[in-house]
Subunit: 366 residues, 4 copies
């Protein structure tokens, strides 16, 4: 129609290439929302609902390798070379925030079975660019330090109210200008060791996406699905939930691929594969690090085959309390579409027990 | 913390002043969504749910004077001099799309009582600027022409399938390269007069906000509230739903304030007020235009008082089938917070009957 | 080459359609430049050099209808529907500022025959968008008010120094917090009537482009050309220099086309033409307004011919001291490429004398 | 004034932090300009004028560490953490392009003593961001490869015309679809070894800024100044001109600081200094690399003194044909503002002779 010229007023808003894209979502007026819905103070474990919503966003953003959430906010990090939605700013922001909002509400009843949703919660969103992995890590550190500061404050604030009967304004006054150390001491006097607080509150939540989609169907399902449609959707991509420090180096050494361009991950994968196959005679030894309180294993095998000799096997393995385990893996035989594997795991007994049903060991046929 | 510098990477994204802001929201992959949830083809009246969601957006965007919706999309027009959220692009887009998503889901069960929501629906959003009211009207015309074209096509397409037993691809073939006129003829041969189709489908939905908020509590409630929290929220702002032509002039003559800067509306209001009070001796005569099929009245009184002589009374009045009515209004008496009014309405009997319970006439005490 | 991907990092920076484009150029550190080159204080008439530079910019920006200059700055206004250089911000800014810089230097010796250029002067530039003619006029008013305020201040400041022997700091002190009125009084006491100051300093310079290019070769040359190459270039487009008020309405009534979209100018032109030809039987009467101190005539004829009957002739005519003249013009005969015209000018004798050689009247053959 | 609100329509256009800023300037319609002014084909050595203009830009952009020029274009690279002009895009582009234009014209007569400037040349400009040094190097490589391709083509094209009497179109035809190798062969048959062509044409020009300004006054002056004002200006910053490969690693190993953030350069400098002073007992040994055909030395000493023990001495040293020289430097004595140095250079005789007058060795008193 003769009106179509108005379309040209839409500006192109593709963001700069090769920069990390961070999408940050924050609850709109969640002070009121948490109040009206009786959220436990200072932290409500049902707020795990936010992790579920974040998981939903990760499903539609395949290049989001890591997400970090705390309080009423969530940050999603996309690889620097992502081309999803043409890197269009408004598409990315609006779809992420809409998906987050929708999934949050969809699973409300599941996480808050006894609290009716009084009114629909809304979120704001923004996209921020970071040119280097160094600065990107500083971004995540900024959010996690923020989590720590607020959580220490809130914990002390509410302890003073709940355990010492102070009013809100007395508690606020008491804490004004106190340093971290002093807050820790106040807590200690109230019989609380801040270190014993739950990691999910002290550290926030870290989501990392498994590298290969459409695998491990039938494996560990991190989330219970509400309906068949939604569950199809969920299985697209495995996502791990951690509550760990992401400021210091160990986390990033543990997951060295998170901040790499996809291009480089692919190259590295190919390179590593060839090395492994040639040098190690089809036998793999994985040094596993027990990292946090929840235990699960994702076995993530993928076979890329240009010639018969190219094979690939990854194993992501998580278990409790930061000890080491050894996973020895040998390729016994393989044809074009399957690979037979032998696993030997040397692992401390307690950890083994925890692994339990989750792990289809020692033999596994694909 | 030493990480706070990362905040500076957020760019300021306030959009150009004095331009109309259009926020357009569109269902993400609604082809699948309407399919999976068995939407009636080509048009499902339950899609009025979208109007409800749009109403939610209008509540958080007080400077949105008009919104237009059709198919899976909705456009919101903000006055050119709005300063809401500092005119920040991403704030506006994300909050609008989040609110829309949230309210859509919140009222799902109300509009689709027999269809469970299988998975959470998402929407994309964008902000477009238009420098003049002329171009802004062309924008809305573009959307309404789009509505017409698609609706005529879809109606014919599905009629051929439903009434003549054609397959989808046969129907598509039959319609390829046909002009509007030919589609009308095909429909006519199938016993359908396209003009008799419902306006809501032919014209889409036009929402216009009543000018003054926090008034008319207890008056006509356009929407049933689901919960007390949500209903508080709803009563903030009255919104009218029309299904009328917005391409030609009459609509814009009928609502001359929609595209004015707020500044000018205020000035005009003040000017008119003084004129009215001085010249007409506290007696008002409103010429009312019967405009469309639904009938309701919004009585919108507001008293601005610098001196005792400044009074103001607006009456928005809508009724059916585009005939005229006369509303004569006289200020009988007033004190600081209330105003007593006498109404006389000369109106055709049938219209009067339709007004029914909605109208607390002939006397109304505030 | 494999490096070409870096090209994609160039962002598209086309500015919003249908908005007026203003390019403002300002001398970089002209405090020093005017000092080192001994500019007369407060105003140096040789600064007309800037007008020449601005004329150069108007040659490469055909859609620049009006430019305004004062002190070390110049603003160029482009029609809202210009598509020059794809409305790319950086192209427009850089070409304008480069051209301005280059022409300024090129004609330096011509305007400052006794002062060697000590070092190359530089300018900064920026592009600003304005959505409506109302705001655009406010922009130009902003610059002209700025001119007035600074000029009144500077004139008084330097008069106190030159006529009363004050030091710079004494003069500054004397003027601090004085209103316009008080400055006028101070000047009056020093024997200066500010109203008698030259318009070029009180009002700045206004350039307006003749509507049709590549005409009038051999006609009045506003600028003396330095070389044949440059003079070819200059004759592309006639430009008028005025020193008049552009804040109030008369100027804009006098030149009603300056702020119209080209589209509308064309339509209006066509409409007017047809009217003229039909109704006035090929005879034109122009009411001419004597506008300012310089006298010249631009005869701007253009023939657009779809059929034999469509002819067109415009005459822009300017002369001194704001009196009226009448220009009667009759189309005597015409073939495909030429048009014979008869002019009769009824004009006050003094003005006629001023017109002198510039005007090839009464007969002119193209 | 009441018009000042229009100022708010200026958008803030500061570019993203921590990204490399590239300013690229390109001659506007230089096809015509080089033609009209009789530039030698394919390359005119007088085009060194462009280097002079680029030098002017480097004076006003202290964070520009490297610039690269070829044909009618020049690229300027600013350190990623520069804050010059608040990183405002239009300020940077306009000032750079204006300065370039101005200096180009200012020195025209110096470089083209026998050719009058027929009309003022103009340039366009743009700012492009690059997030990493890897991509930045690819950018420069892109321009240098472009230089090579065009130069090989042009050299062959004009040789066919000049040596074999082909017409322009015959020559074009002959070269269409030829590979580099074939062009080299054609040249060889015409008695030209492309490798013997001048580096300035094969490689373009690389400008690198000496790290410390306001030093070395009285030392080697790369440019002859036209006037005292301009020469003051020139001495602000020493700039080296090279015609070398910047695609491969050696260049970047030779100048490791060019792409570092200023922050890191400062840190490194401090660190190195302390190491040097402590470990080497005030004696410095510099391994110098003979790099290209022009020979000169810049001795760049700077003393930063928090305590008496902190001293610093840099020596930039360039000579011909890529061989090594050793520069041994010992701090003999120093007071607050001066430093006495002893230099011993072990150097191949021929190179030494080339150093000639330029080098105030073996003793130098500051
Ligand atoms: N009681 C309780 N409150 C929470 C919890 N998580 C978040 N909140 C609340 C505490 C804060 O008031 C609020 C988050 O603070 P924000 O700075 O985001 O402010 P708010 O969302 O109110 O306003 P905004 O629209 O973001 O500017 O959410 C929780 O687990 N328990
Ligand atoms: N059956 C039915 N379908 C509808 C109704 N309203 C909208 N739809 C469907 C028809 C279209 O397939 C779809 C809207 O088309 P779009 O161009 O927005 O595409 P879609 O949302 O599938 O993809 P997108 O993510 O927007 O690119 O929504 C309705 O009332 N009944
Ligand atoms: N004596 C004299 N000075 C003039 C004349 N026209 C302009 N100027 C000088 C006066 C001001 O110092 C200067 C313009 O002021 P600006 O605000 O543009 O500052 P300036 O150019 O020094 O710095 P900038 O780089 O624009 O921030 O130019 C003139 O005709 N005569
Ligand atoms: N004869 C000769 N020509 C040169 C020399 N250096 C540059 N040129 C000319 C050759 C090209 O026609 C022109 C540069 O090509 P461009 O692609 O920049 O095109 P041009 O500047 O004509 O148009 P533009 O405004 O940049 O789009 O400059 C030289 O040393 N000698
Ligand atoms: O909480 P943030 O980081 O969003 O910061 P803010 O102070 O809420 O600011 P805004 O949401 O308005 O950007
Ligand atoms: O339907 P629209 O107008 O959004 O247009 P589109 O073709 O879907 O394009 P986009 O990728 O901008 O949503
Ligand atoms: O003189 P202006 O209007 O350019 O304003 P300014 O104060 O010089 O500011 P800038 O040139 O830095 O935008
Ligand atoms: O020569 P470039 O790189 O500037 O590329 P172009 O094809 O001239 O394009 P433009 O100058 O219009 O960006
Ligand atoms: Mg916020
Ligand atoms: Mg919040
Ligand atoms: Mg928050
Ligand atoms: Mg779309
Ligand atoms: Mg859609
Ligand atoms: Mg749609
Ligand atoms: Mg300025
Ligand atoms: Mg200036
Ligand atoms: Mg100025
Ligand atoms: Mg170009
Ligand atoms: Mg060029
Ligand atoms: Mg070029």
């Amino acid at each position: 129609s003769r009106f179509e010229y108005v379309r040209d007023f839409e500006e192109s808003d593709a963001v700069m290439k090769q920069c990390f894209i961070v999408l940050r979502i924050d609850g709109s007026n969640f002070h009121r929302f948490s109040d009206k819905h009786g959220f436990v103070k200072p932290n409500d474990e049902r707020a795990l609902l936010a992790n579920r919503a974040a998981h939903g966003v990760m499903q539609i953003m395949p290049d989001c390798t890591i997400a970090y959430g705390q309080s009423d906010e969530y940050s999603f990090v996309l690889r620097p070379d992502t081309t999803v939605h043409g890197r269009r700013r408004q598409k990315l922001v609006s779809l992420a925030v809409s998906k987050f909002t929708a999934v949050y509400q969809f699973y409300w009843a599941h996480f808050f079975p006894e609290t009716a949703l009084l009114y629909p919660p809304a979120f704001d969103g923004r996209l921020v660019l970071y040119p280097s992995d160094k600065i990107l890590r500083d971004y995540l550190a900024w959010r996690q330090v923020d989590c720590h500061i607020n959580n220490l404050y809130n914990t002390t604030f509410h302890s003073l109210i709940q355990k010492q009967g102070l009013t809100a304004s007395e508690s606020e006054k008491r804490l004004s200008k106190t340093l971290s150390k002093e807050k820790n001491e106040i807590l200690f006097q109230l019989g609380i060791n801040y270190n014993d607080e739950k990691d999910i509150f002290k550290k926030g939540s870290v989501l990392i996406g498994a590298e290969n989609r459409k695998e491990n169907e039938g494996e560990i399902d991190l989330w219970e699905a509400q309906s068949s449609e939604e569950s199809k959707h969920l299985q697209k991509r495995q996502v791990l939930v951690l509550h760990v420090d992401i400021i210091k180096d160990p986390f990033w050494q543990r997951y060295p691929n998170l901040l790499l361009p996809l291009e480089e991950v692919k190259k590295a994968r190919k390179r590593q594969l060839q090395t492994d196959c040639n040098k190690k005679n089809n036998e793999y030894l994985f040094i596993l690090v027990f990292y946090h309180a929840l235990v699960f294993v994702i076995l993530d095998f993928n076979i890329i085959r240009k010639s018969k000799t190219q094979k690939r096997a990854n194993a992501l393995y998580y278990c409790s309390s930061s000890r080491q385990a050894h996973l020895n893996m040998k390729i016994l035989d393989s044809d074009h579409r399957s690979i037979q594997l032998y696993f030997h795991i040397s692992i401390r007994p307690r950890a083994l027990r925890q692994l339990g049903a989750a792990c289809h060991l020692p033999y596994h046929q694909f």
